[in-house]
């Protein structure tokens, strides 16, 4: 079977077949055999050509986490929209404006701009405090502030749009 996963936001493919008590996989270059075992709830042991890999593993509602020798891989199913991704904390609307979101849950300390303001790339739009540190939310492009959805003191999560930004025409 061929599998497609988003691994750390990059689409990757692998073909794996189960054969009796082992697995055969093809990574696009060569075919190898692997002995793979769930050795505990959060550990998968892989033996490939005499090499031993211990993979730590956990999942939440839409991601699976794999950790191998100091490196974490977040694995997701490819989304329906394909693999187009925007900067974290931003989303493009159907009209082409950018919805700027808080990259983490927190409290809005200050909104530094007004509606209709023209802003430059990297200009600070708002300050959101989380875990007692202030984080500046910056514009990713030049543009105009179309709408401000929150005010100072609001608690926000990473879903709620803070500001709607209309990118300057190229």
């Amino acid at each position: 079977m061929e599998f497609e996963f988003l691994v750390n936001d990059v689409l990757q493919k692998i073909t794996v077949e189960k054969k009796e008590n082992h697995f055969v996989f093809f990574d696009g270059i060569k075919t190898s055999e692997a002995d793979i075992q769930h050795i505990s709830a959060n550990q998968i042991s892989i033996l490939v050509e005499g090499r031993s890999y211990l993979v730590y593993y956990a999942q939440d509602k839409d991601s699976r986490y794999f950790y191998i020798d100091g490196q974490q891989f977040i694995v997701k199913e490819p989304s329906e929209e394909g693999v187009e991704s925007f900067r974290l904390g931003e989303e493009r609307t159907s009209e082409g404006t950018l919805l700027v979101k808080a990259p983490m849950p927190g409290k809005v300390i200050k909104i530094n701009v007004h509606e209709k303001d023209e802003v430059r790339k990297n200009q600070t739009l708002a300050i959101v405090e989380a875990m007692k540190m202030e984080n500046e939310i910056k514009a990713s492009v030049d543009g105009t502030i179309k709408k401000i959805h929150v005010s100072a003191g609001d608690l926000v999560d990473s879903e709620k749009p803070l500001i709607e930004l209309e990118p300057a025409s190229q």
Binding site: Q12, V16, M104, K132
Partner: protein
Amino acid sequence: MFKKILIANRGEIAVRIIKACQEMGISTVGVYSEADRNSLHVQMADEALCIGPPPAVESYLDMDRIIDAAKQTGAEAIHPGYGFLAENAGFARRCEKEKIVFIGPNSDALELVGDKVRSRQTLEKAGIPIIPGMKEIVKDISVIKAEARKIGYPVMIKASAGGGGKGMRVVFQEEDLAPSLEAGMREAKSAFGDESVYLEKYIEEPRHVEFQVLADDHGNVVHFFERECSIQRRHQKIVEETPSQALDPKLRFKMGETARKVMQVSGYNNAGTVEFLLDRDKNFYFLEVNARLQVEHPVTELTTGVDLVHQQIRIASGEKLPFSQDRLEQKGHAIECRIYAEDPHNNFLPSSGKVLYLKEPRGPGVRHDCGIYSGCEVPIYYDPILAKLIVWAENREMACQRMIKALDDYVILGIQTTIDFLRDVIDHPQFRKGDTSTSFIPDYFGNWTGDESTDEKQKMALLAAAFDSIQISQSGKGFQTEKRQVYSPWLSLGKWRLGSK
């Protein structure tokens, strides 16, 4: 000795203190906010009381509720940990009035050293070298501007009540002064409830070297050598070690004696740390007293064999220090890494949420002071420190190797942490040489993106993911229970089809 102590803190430090109390046969009272009902310290304490809603000002910073909790449970003493009320002279005074022992310095000393501006004045008079800068608090921006010009840019904005990097800003030119002051004051106000800030000359590329001191109520003041804490991000320490590579025995002696004098002049008792900046020419300047147990106290414990929390409790109960300065020595080398819930791959944004899985590093010479467990939630309301990883070895090189191995062996899944970033810091050639300063992180890690993952590890992750999907399909349990469309081709085949288009 006390029979019952209330720990007015949360997270790893509350856990650390509870363990010390348990070892000494002292019963413990934990307090928690509504966001912390399931936190580790609540489970470990003998008694636990809710002291209010999640925001710290309504819980961990609320003196009335904490004093009430102590009275209600009959706790004879309060250990404040670090942060929150640890350096609040008003709280120490309140405890004194309520006849509850505050495990920390007396309120007068706390007030003096907590007021950075007044302590600078006092210590300068006593002949302690201080950093050039303002010696009083001014609110008038034009006066501050004039002071900045007099000091000469770059200048450092500091919170008078400060610590932990909160409220601190470096300003390189006058036009940035006003906005930085505004941000610094706001951060100081929210962190300490006091918005006073002042300016100091910014010393470029200094080392941050501090001395651990214990002082009892019988006039004995002893230092437990230095900790080097030059590796900082946003003025917040992330890696600490001892001994410092920058000190020779002569300088160590001189700085140690200065640290003792600072505490004597300040009328200080209990545990405290005297921080110095050491410039390129090995001149040292008094920076501030941290009037509390420090996050980085374990490196001192591992190299001197002294349990500083036990000593804090003993001092607070009136015991005499059982040490004499000339008998103390440092043995081997210790390094600490602070594990924060921050995403180093995304501008160190705080990462809250559920810890899906935790595997603690273990082994000879490895200590893990930890405030989390598999399945716990990391709330958004508090400092992002999750745990501290500390290693000890015979020498610095072995300690570095041991730390790298321990970091590799440390798994936290579900939230982002600084573990992989710290590993690269310890592995950096400049760090390995011991050539560090407070600009080490901006100089060498300003554009850090992390190792490109090796093809091999990535392949194994893919293989494990495919294996897991196969296992799930065979057991009939969907990895995603309620469903949007899943696009693994095999899932749309046959009876395991989930959802519909």
